[in-house]
């Protein structure tokens, strides 16, 4: 029981690590790494939710239909759930565009302040 839960707990651990990096780190680049860890923790959780195996210890089956439509039921019963995989693909693309934007912001901020230290970028009161 505990062992089968381990991957899920690991995903939540990653989530917490990402949040910690964002909240506690002063270096902007480390904050960006934190954002990416956070993003990938959510992706990992999604993939884990789609994981199925045909039985205890059996290898997972890729959701690819071989043969005719008569095999659909058998495949659906044994294969990994393809839906979360499709979601993760989309989520990775979103994560990439957010990362590109935040890196662009970081470069501009470095040009303005000459530092990546977020403590020294405090014009606004928040």
């Amino acid at each position: 029981m505990m062992l089968s839960m381990a991957p899920y707990l690991f995903a939540f651990l990653l989530l917490v690590v990402g949040l910690y990096a964002i909240v506690a780190k002063r270096n902007l680049i480390k904050v960006i790494v934190g954002l990416m860890i956070l993003d990938y923790a959510a992706n990992l959780l999604l993939v884990l939710i789609g994981y199925r195996s045909a039985g205890a210890g059996a290898a997972p089956v890729a959701p690819i239909l071989v043969g005719g439509p008569e095999n659909v039921r058998a495949l659906a019963a044994s294969s990994v759930d393809p839906l979360p995989q499709a979601l993760v693909l989309t989520s990775i693309v979103i994560g990439l565009s957010v990362t590109a934007l935040v890196v662009a912001l970081a470069i501009r901020l470095y040009e303005k302040y000459g530092t990546f230290d977020t403590e020294r970028m405090r014009n606004l009161k928040g």
């Binding site: 949040l19 959510a42 989309t90 957010v98 303005k112 606004l124």
Partner: protein, 521 residues
């Protein structure tokens, strides 16, 4: 009719990617604005034409693929109301941008991002399933992070970074919530999720679903800037160019925050007492903290941003109180009244808050400052903008006969009828503090002799005046919604979507048609 629905997403999306090319062809903001304005007009026309059949749930399956595989777009009474608000405000903000954005470079990129933000908001409102809603949420989010940084000065970049970091945290919570929802129910379609959860039969949520609800509350609370998740808003909204501030405060926090939250709580999770109390608590805290922070502000746009937090608190409080009332067996009429008050205030806030931000933009355009202490006598130098600002200030402070008065009155009335006297009292006090803080705006911006900054000020250009005057007229015109004939078309269908009794033997209101079609295949 239903074939018009995907156009709400497709037109601005196509326009968004065309705009950088248009921007290469012309450097003029007026010329570049033509395409986005045409698209916004088309959006408004579609949104109005959808009003034709007020109580019908329109379901459109993209590409003709049906239930388990296809992507659905669902438009019901609540979506119609929000779509109209989005279309109207974005059209006026674009008209305003034509003249206001003259001082900025790269019009192509500006309008491109604007249209992408519009795509995202329309998409969130029409999505029939959770994951597409998430994708559109991110489109709107990324476009708005970039728009906040559009000035590329130190302050704008810093505000954008703060907005982006908190926005990504919110999105991650929402994505984890969606993943867990899929794990528990095996579905992503709103109506199917509600069906599997059994909230339509009056069943409460299981423990894992409460965890999911908590994740969604955090995520959308951040997106809607409810206190204590509000820290990004007072930085991000003032830093954007004025038309974008108007869009962010007027529409984005509603479409991407409060709308989705209301839909989840009422239509999917069944809106039980716990959630109602949490919503009402968030709303009341936002209301009080927002207004207290606003009173002490000397930066005009920052003051307006804090009022956004406070006024959205009214909406969330009304919706939360409605859920609590429903759980406690208060009569349907009072529950309906509270929801009506909340949605009416949401529409009104979209109008007067975007008007306030556009006026602040006009004043900054003419005087070059938005510090209250450096302004003064603007009312004499800019009569049209000054009059519009007065109308908006009276609306937001709840002075009759403007729209803000009626919606606040209805919320307070519903709270009193249900016996929540403390909440009603808080609402009245917050309304008074709002009046106080706008008296300050009147005194420092409009009243007195022209200050040094205001001496050379001239009335804003035609496009900007046009947008503000139309919004000022709308502030008066939407007061008509209290009359039954207008209400029956516009707000009542939206109220029915949220107030439908979960114990009735029909699937949850997120789209009965979706559920039915799903069964048949």
């Amino acid at each position: 009719m239903e074939h018009l629905v995907p156009l709400l997403v497709a037109l601005p999306l196509a326009g968004g990617f065309l705009m950088p090319i248009v921007g290469r062809l012309t450097k003029s903001h007026r010329a570049a604005a033509a395409l986005p304005i045409a698209i916004a007009c088309a959006g408004l026309a579609i949104a109005i034409s959808l009003l034709g059949r007020p109580d019908e749930t329109i379901v459109y399956w993209l590409g003709g693929w049906s239930f388990p595989i296809g992507i659905s777009m669902v438009v019901d009474g609540l979506s119609r109301l929000i779509l109209i608000i989005i279309a109207a405000i974005s059209l006026l903000a674009l008209v305003f941008s034509m003249d206001y954005m003259k001082h900025y470079t790269s019009p192509g990129l500006y309008y491109g991002l604007f249209l992408l933000m519009l795509t995202g908001m329309n998409g969130v409102v029409v999505s029939g399933d959770l994951f597409n809603m998430f994708v559109f949420l991110e489109i709107a989010g990324i476009a708005s992070y970039a728009l906040v940084a559009f000035g590329t000065e130190a302050d704008e970049l810093e505000a954008s970074l703060k907005y982006l970091v908190l926005g990504v945290i919110a999105s991650t919570f929402i994505l984890v919530g969606i993943a867990l929802t899929y794990n528990v129910t095996g579905h992503l379609n709103w109506a199917k999720v509600a069906e599997v959860l059994g909230t339509a039969g009056g069943a409460g949520l299981s423990l894992p679903m409460y965890v999911v609800a908590a994740l969604f509350f955090m995520g959308f609370g951040l997106k809607a800037a409810m206190v204590p998740f509000h820290a990004w808003l007072p930085d991000a909204h003032p830093s954007a160019p004025a038309p974008i501030s108007a869009m962010l405060s007027g529409v984005l926090i509603k479409a991407c925050g409060v709308y989705v939250l209301a839909r989840l709580v009422f239509s999917v999770f069944g809106g039980d007492q716990t959630m109602g109390v949490i919503l009402a608590g968030l709303g009341a805290t936002s209301m009080v903290v927002g207004v207290l922070m606003a009173v002490g502000q000397w930066d005009f746009k920052r003051l307006l941003a804090y009022h956004s937090i406070s006024q959205m608190g009214y909406v969330v409080l009304a919706l939360g109180a409605a859920a609590v009332m429903r759980a406690n067996g208060v009569s349907d009429a009072v529950v309906g009244l509270a929801i009506f008050g909340g949605l009416f205030h949401l529409a009104n806030h979209a109008i007067f808050k975007s008007l306030l931000f556009l006026c602040s933009g006009s004043i900054e355009y003419a005087t070059g400052t938005r510090q209250l202490k450096m302004l003064g006598g603007v009312g004499k130098r800019m009569p049209v903008t000054g009059a519009c600002l007065r109308v908006a200030a009276l609306s937001i402070s709840g002075v009759p006969p403007f729209n803000g008065f009626w919606s606040k009155l209805i919320i307070i009335l519903a709270l009193v009828l249900a016996g929540y006297y403390t909440l009603a009292a808080i609402t009245v006090v917050v309304s008074f503090l709002t009046l106080l803080s706008f008296a300050k705006v009147q005194r420092y911006v409009l009243g007195g002799d022209p200050s040094e900054a205001a001496r050379g000020a001239r009335e804003a250009p035609v496009g900007m005046c046009l947008a503000t005057v139309v919004l000022a007229v709308l502030c008066l015109a939407t007061a008509l919604v209290i009359f039954p004939t207008v209400r029956a078309r516009l707000v009542d269908p939206a109220v029915r979507v949220l107030s439908v009794r979960v114990s009735e033997d029909r699937p949850a209101a997120a789209g009965p048609a979706v559920a039915r079609e799903g069964m048949g295949r």
